[in-house]
Symmetry: none
DNA sequence: AATGAATGAGAGTTCATTCAT
DNA sequence: TATGAATGAACTCTCATTCAT
């Protein structure tokens, strides 16, 4: 791929992330092209389908989250990650609004990263030993969805997380 | 309103509930009309706008939930309600997918019903005294969203609820 | 026809005249029914087609104009009639907005009434002898149309009429 | 703009002029697209709204008239322009049927062109000195409307114009 | 004779996708 | 490779007209 093509790909992804975060997945592809500063044809050359574009965003986003999770650790790593993710949920609507789209590989990498955090938290005794990864992921996703659709303020977020954290604790 | 008109109104609401549950709020009004067995004009006579239709569904759904909640009570009423709601979430996508639509009155009635359940659970000692209604609602909505988008099986649902219930317990 | 049916017919015509005067011929029949205080079916029972309703209004309106013209006369009758008609044009948009509709009989009665006024004006010497009825009608209709679409103020109307009256004068 | 897009724009305008002349402003945009030989989306790409399309036609038409008027002059220029315009009125229904649409700039240019013709006619003594531009425009528009709605034949047109010209004369 | 709910063709408009330039 | 004009199916909504009540 030529250098300028690669550059366009990035610009399109950035634009798409912003547009879909702002307006949801129903935003128009043309809007994305406009913000990216390219023509609509260029978007479709890089991503033959709107769904492909959505999947690409989601993939990149999940990769970033996995990376982010990997930098955390220790007794409170999982809690920090929860708080960070839920706090950003409303701003990054995309994480959450893409029911139909699936990117298994990217998901499983995030899954592993969260699993790692869970292991450490359990080793440190911050989280009960019989809690398993799937329900932790389920809680994480649920809270993000809830925060997005509910428009939580900081206090409500903290009180809600407090309940979940208590449930995870020994 | 005439009897047949009333009947049609119900059929349209039923059809809309099913169609929007299946395809999300972006499903077409025409599809609703087809399933209801009426012409498209009839739908718009009863609900002048697509949003009016969505709001009507949501309102009816919330009313049913509030009614349902009102029949419960005692130490475990809140837990039963949680489990029941989360279990139905995926089937009734509508509850959850209607971010834009608002029916304040119906929401606040559900709010009150849940508050009542919470009071009783706290009186019975099943739930910690410092938990308040807003975070309970937030958890409820979050778990519904999560169950919907995540496609949980029964086991995952139970394990996830178990964490939340533990967090709510004394 | 029963008495109440007759009464309904009048109320529908009155309502239609007002509605179409306000919104033009593209106003909806339902709006007419609402203003008349009857159901839509009743409108269509009396006037099987929207065009029939428009024609009926036009006919009644032309009849009134002919009647009105018949009460005038003398040297200035024609001028008075011109001024009166043009002045009302914008308010009674209907006269003018009904290109497609035709009611020959009613038109010819108005035609005759205007012819009568013309004869008297010519006998009195207020109007040149070689002016004939068709161009007088043409001017009358033109000025009404112009006044309607142009939104003339009183001064512009007078100055415009002044030119036409001068052209008609000896 | 690309050459083919420009060509399509023209074709759409030509088609719209013909269609709206034939059926009035209530003709459908789809009909315009069909006659222009383009898909409906192309019409809306060039003119995002039906009103935009109507305004564009009107603007082009008025520009042509202003241009036409500018080529005339002398003692009889105004009269020639009147006759020409009124003669075409029925064929170009559009001039007249677009009450709602406004294109102020184009109108005022025509206004000026007519003012110029009036000045010259008054200088040549063909038109009375105390006649002003507004009533001339009012007469022009009125006669066009009248000719359109009345379906005048040539003789009636001439006799009607004769009255108006006499009114304008000294 | 009156009601008003139901019909369904048709309107304006949008947008993912294609393809000539 | 990029452009952006063209496509056309699909959508929401309107309204003259019909017909069961």
């Amino acid at each position: 791929m030529r250098a300028d093509a690669q550059r366009n790909r990035e610009r399109i992804l950035d634009a798409a992330e912003e547009v879909f975060a702002r307006c949801g997945a129903s935003a128009s592809t043309e809007e994305v092209a406009r913000l990216a500063g390219v023509a609509i044809g260029t978007v479709f050359r890089h991503f033959p389908t709107k769904d492909d574009l959505l999947a690409a965003i989601l993939k990149r986003l999940l990769a970033r989250l996995a990376e982010d999770a990997a930098t955390l650790g220790g007794a409170d790593g999982l809690h920090v990650f929860f708080r960070r993710l839920v706090g950003q949920a409303a701003a990054k609507r995309t994480v959450v609004d893409l029911a139909g789209v699936s990117v298994p590989a990217a998901v499983s990498r995030l899954d592993e990263a969260v699993g790692e955090l869970l292991d450490q938290a359990q080793a440190a005794g911050t989280v009960r030993g019989d809690v398993r990864r799937p329900e932790v992921m389920a809680l994480l996703v649920s809270l993000c969805q809830g925060a997005l659709h509910g428009g939580w303020d900081v206090e409500l977020q903290e009180r809600t997380l407090a309940v979940v954290f208590a449930g995870l604790a020994a």
